[in-house]
Symmetry: C2
Subunit: 362 residues, 2 copies
């Protein structure tokens, strides 16, 4: 992971800029980004002027050495990570101005700082690592491309097996099996397979409902490769399409295509959102598009930046974002079409290539 | 969900006992337990003397009404759940002594309380809902039994298809496909499939390593049914068994069986842990059993109580716990055998029935 020293150096520079002597990292994706460690329990201290220290437990003794290498010195804590942190802090941080991750630290853990002694001044730092993560380097972009490819191959294999009478849950099983065979790790978020009226629920779980003719089948899912994820949605017609299905799908498709083509690094998140929203509103369906346009993806399926009505921040160059407008008619059905887009300096690069036309399956 | 009014009444009684006027619930499993809501974004206020109020967002508008019914009044928040909370608090809570969930509230969200005005006194409450959740009622126990049955059926189907040359990841794909077909929702935790030397990593992710003859194949996974989960581990031999494999497996099997038979409601978690640990230590492998014996399962795969060397609390009657000793020889391989056990008042009831003998597969 050739970029890790660069990331740590950038974080140290940002600590100095913000007047901190060290950062306590409690977000596991942030720890993975900085050190390569993939385990489920860790604390990381990054001093502004010294090598970082990673604390984990017995279960990860063997893998942590392989994963972290030279990027941090590692301690295996026999009792608790927090007891270890208290012990190790005086030796590794020269100063006393300590930042912590306010958005990734439980209140109950925050209260432990009181036991650490009066020397330390703890202050919540917001998004120091997240800001670095927004811009993807070539290795990260390649992993996201790989995760997109795995997802699209698995989807192509799945729709050949879909037929009326299967349950949503069975379709999820087929899809997730293909994802594993394509080389994906566990899905980065809960696969959505929703048919008929359930496709109008933006976050439906696959149920025992059977697929029926002339209904929508909405599939929203992702692959995960070396920690990086893809996030794709397509909406299919089962066996037959009626005029209303075609109309809704056409509108959403046009909204996705125009937003994917129009989104730019530097644009505010709200302006990206408006590209799709204004179009859908113009077609008279604005009230049925109740969620935001998209979000960043990378080591997490929801990360910076946000593409939403309330997002004033500019979209960072090098981010990968989803573009996922939808129209949901309660009790009848819904359509969402979601692509993943890389915001290169020179313009948007759409990473997904699965057809966006309304395909009839089953 | 006939038990919900009872749960809310029990929580209110515990609020009164603890001197609180209301509890802000931020843990999603706790919200599900109290109201039935299964979405991924919610806040719940439970006043000691009035009906609870659930706040969620647009995405769950349709499902929340179905799920929650009479158990809470529901608000769909257009901007943010926290803005909604600030608005609604004065109307729903008479007093000012507010409890929050210190173990389930991010520091950054805790800081929002400062904007709510000086009337409220916020104090961290620890485990008020978790304490109720430890004792499973008949409906919960039945759902866990269903999740055990789904997991065991899927495992039985999977091992018939396992063969040397498949990758760990492919085995995970087969297993998770069968889980869906058995009626399971998404796995409650990341499926572990580890072969050969990787079986010595207690938390290995399924990799592209191919299964080989005369090695262990360790599978640790669960099913999820109506929110409740199972958590099972079996370790198989691929094609052939040597003496060392048989010896390690025999020791772990005996440790699992004796702990499952000996665990009792009312016993301290550390004493349950000691049943298996003392046996493994007596056989000379104590240093290779580095993790704790088990944990409660229910709406979460790790919940109260803990069965560990450091667990002084007694195991509550009606809890369902895992019993999962293991021996891990670094660079060679490991064995873990895990059962799920219901702690009835009259003694332990082992819910898992998949054979524990060392089976040769592949």
């Amino acid at each position: 992971m050739e970029r890790r020293p660069h990331r740590l150096a950038a974080l140290r520079a940002s600590l100095v800029d913000s007047g901190f002597d060290a950062l306590l990292v409690t977000s596991l994706p942030n720890i993975r980004y900085l050190t390569g460690f993939t385990g489920s329990a860790a604390l990381l201290v990054v001093p502004a002027g010294e090598p970082p220290v990673l604390l984990t437990d017995y279960r990860y003794q063997a893998q942590v050495a392989d994963e972290v290498g030279e990027h941090a010195s590692v301690r295996i804590e026999p009792v608790s990570l927090w007891a270890g942190l208290r012990e190790v802090l005086p030796a590794i941080a020269d100063g006393e101005r300590m930042a912590f991750e306010s958005a990734h630290l439980l209140h109950g853990d925050f209260e432990r700082f009181a036991d650490f002694g009066g020397r330390w001044q703890w202050r919540g730092g917001v998004g120091l690592v997240e800001a670095l993560r927004e811009r993807k380097d070539p290795g990260e972009l390649q992993r996201i491309r790989d995760a997109v490819r795995m997802a699209e191959s698995a989807l192509a294999r799945t729709i050949r097996e879909v037929h009326v009478g299967l349950t949503e849950r069975q379709v999820a099983g087929i899809l997730e099996h293909h994802l594993r065979d394509e080389g994906s790790d566990a899905p980065p978020f809960e696969t959505i397979v929703a048919s008929g009226a359930r496709s109008a629920l933006p976050h439906a779980r696959p149920s025992s409902r059977e697929l029926r003719r002339e209904e929508f089948l909405l599939i929203d899912f992702g692959a995960s490769y070396e920690g990086y994820c893809s996030d794709i949605t397509r909406t299919f017609a089962l066996q037959s399409v009626n005029a209303e299905m075609q109309e809704l799908h056409d509108i959403v498709r046009e909204a996705t295509l125009s937003a994917s083509a129009g989104v730019r690094a530097g644009m505010r998140g709200r302006d990206a959102d408006a590209i799709a929203r204004d179009y859908i509103e113009g077609r008279g369906y604005g009230e049925l598009f109740g969620h935001s346009l998209g979000h960043g993806i990378g080591l997490e399926v929801h990360e910076s930046p946000r593409l939403a009505r309330t997002a004033d921040a500019p979209l960072g160059p090098g981010a990968v974002v989803t573009i996922e407008p939808g129209i949901y008619r309660p009790g009848w059905g819904g359509v969402r079409i979601e692509d993943d887009v890389y915001l290169a300096e020179e313009g948007p690069v759409v990473l997904t290539s699965f057809p966006r036309e309304l395909m009839v399956v089953g």
